[in-house]
């Protein structure tokens, strides 16, 4: 999976592309947590180009959300494909996160 990170206003945007699975959830988790440690509070996961996510990937999201919310921050998800949205819906993870259709909506929120 490729991960690009950029800042927009007070939000850190993480653009995920490819697959988030057993092969890379650890490295993704490390990068994400490094950003959290830097003091970021608001994160937007741009998932437009994410093709696949396994349970391990979902758990990284879950752990990160707990950590961020503990410091009054938040994580928003945006731009999910139908397939990824289905995974989040069926697993109920979409009820935990703020979900947006576009990156602008997510950042503005």
């Amino acid at each position: 999976m490729e991960l690009k990170i950029k800042k927009e206003g007070n939000a850190t945007i993480l653009e995920l592309s490819g697959r988030l699975d057993t092969s890379n959830y650890e490295s993704f988790s490390e990068e994400l947590y490094a950003k959290l440690e830097e003091g970021g509070k608001y994160f937007v996961m741009d998932m437009e180009d994410l093709d696949y996510i396994s349970s391990s990937g979902l758990r990284v999201f879950l752990s990160a959300l707990k950590k961020v919310r503990a410091t009054d921050g938040d994580i928003a998800l945006c731009c999910m494909s139908e397939k990824i949205n289905e995974v989040f819906e069926i697993s109920g993870f979409s009820s935990l996160f703020k979900v947006f259709v576009s990156i602008d909506d997510a950042v503005n929120e």
């Binding site: 996510i53 349970s55 391990s56 979902l58 879950l62 995974v87 697993s91």
Partner: protein, 298 residues
């Protein structure tokens, strides 16, 4: 070296033991083997030995964990070597249910949490009960998941899987009253669906049919070969196993182990049996938590 922490299957088993030391009746059912199988898979996922998606179990870091129950399954997954539907693993492991039940009992007794005693009750039945020696672990898991359900906290994965297991297996009453289950139905459902293995349990239990098994697995005019054939056929239908290669060696024709299975069926005149991988011993299924090493099952 004895392990010091409980696996999920053991935690569920302890939840099922009441203050009088009696095991909840639902956990004595053959259906409970599906719950045990699922708990094991959830534990492996929790410890990154496997990954899952909406359909499949995907092998991850298949290193042993020092847990006799989980390590047996890690070896099987390693041997299988590739991605496989969750439902097939649940089926495969459910067939070994009695083995896992025995190991769970042995483990919680070795850990000094339970002990096994014969006790006579009013009807003059002799039944084994499990007086609690140390109820710390039970209180901990029960209190933890109750606190979670009664709050709006983001759950930890371990608590997700336990709640998912309890809900999808229909044994929420081990931790909640009827009224609590009703009042917190939405919250429980929200948490329970967050685990993909938990979602698969529900399907496995719906498909489960313990039908007519006694009519052909015990005695009568059937030969041992016929009894075993029909038992295997029933298991394949029950757990939707379509490929004989997915059967364990002791149930797969043509293997040395199958020949030994047949010998045991001949000896006991029943095919309702299981095979303990750890000890290499066969036993007649008792669908209980009595435990082979404590003198029951055959």
């Amino acid at each position: 070296m004895k392990k010091y922490s409980l696996n999920i299957a053991e935690e569920i088993a302890l939840l099922s033991v009441n203050e009088d030391g009696e095991v909840h009746p639902k956990l004595k059912s053959p259906k409970y083997d599906i719950v045990i199988a699922s708990a094991i898979l959830m534990d492996l996922a929790l410890h990154h030995r496997i990954d899952t998606d909406m359909k499949n179990v995907i092998p991850d870091k298949l290193e042993p964990m020092g847990d006799p129950i989980l390590d047996v399954v890690i070896e099987e997954i390693k041997e299988f070597g590739s991605v496989r539907p969750i439902s097939e693993w649940i089926a495969d492991l459910s067939i070994k249910g009695q083995f896992f039940r025995d190991e769970i009992v042995k483990s919680v007794v070795d850990l000094g949490i339970l002990k096994v005693e014969n006790k006579k009750v009013l009807w003059m039945f002799s039944k084994r009960v499990y007086p609690m020696l140390d109820d710390t672990e039970v209180k901990e898991v029960r209190a933890r998941i109750r606190d979670l359900v009664f709050s709006d906290e983001i759950p930890d994965y371990k608590d997700i899987v336990i709640i998912s297991l309890l809900k999808n297996a229909g044994i929420l009453e081990l931790a909640f009253t009827d009224e609590e289950m009703k009042d917190y139905e939405h919250r429980i459902s929200q948490i329970a669906k967050m685990d993909m293995i938990g979602l698969a349990i529900g399907d496995s239990l719906k498909e489960f049919k313990l039908s007519n098994i006694k009519s052909f697995i015990t005695g009568g005019e059937k030969t041992p070969e016929q009894m075993l054939d029909e038992h295997v056929k029933e298991l394949k239908e029950k757990f939707r196993i379509t490929n004989d290669a997915n059967l364990p060696a002791w149930l797969r024709k043509g293997t040395d182990q199958y020949a030994k299975t047949l010998e045991f069926v001949k000896e006991k005149n029943t095919a309702d049996i299981t095979f303990n991988h750890r000890t290499g011993v066969y036993q007649v299924n008792s669908y209980s938590f009595v435990g082979h090493e404590f003198g029951s099952g055959s």
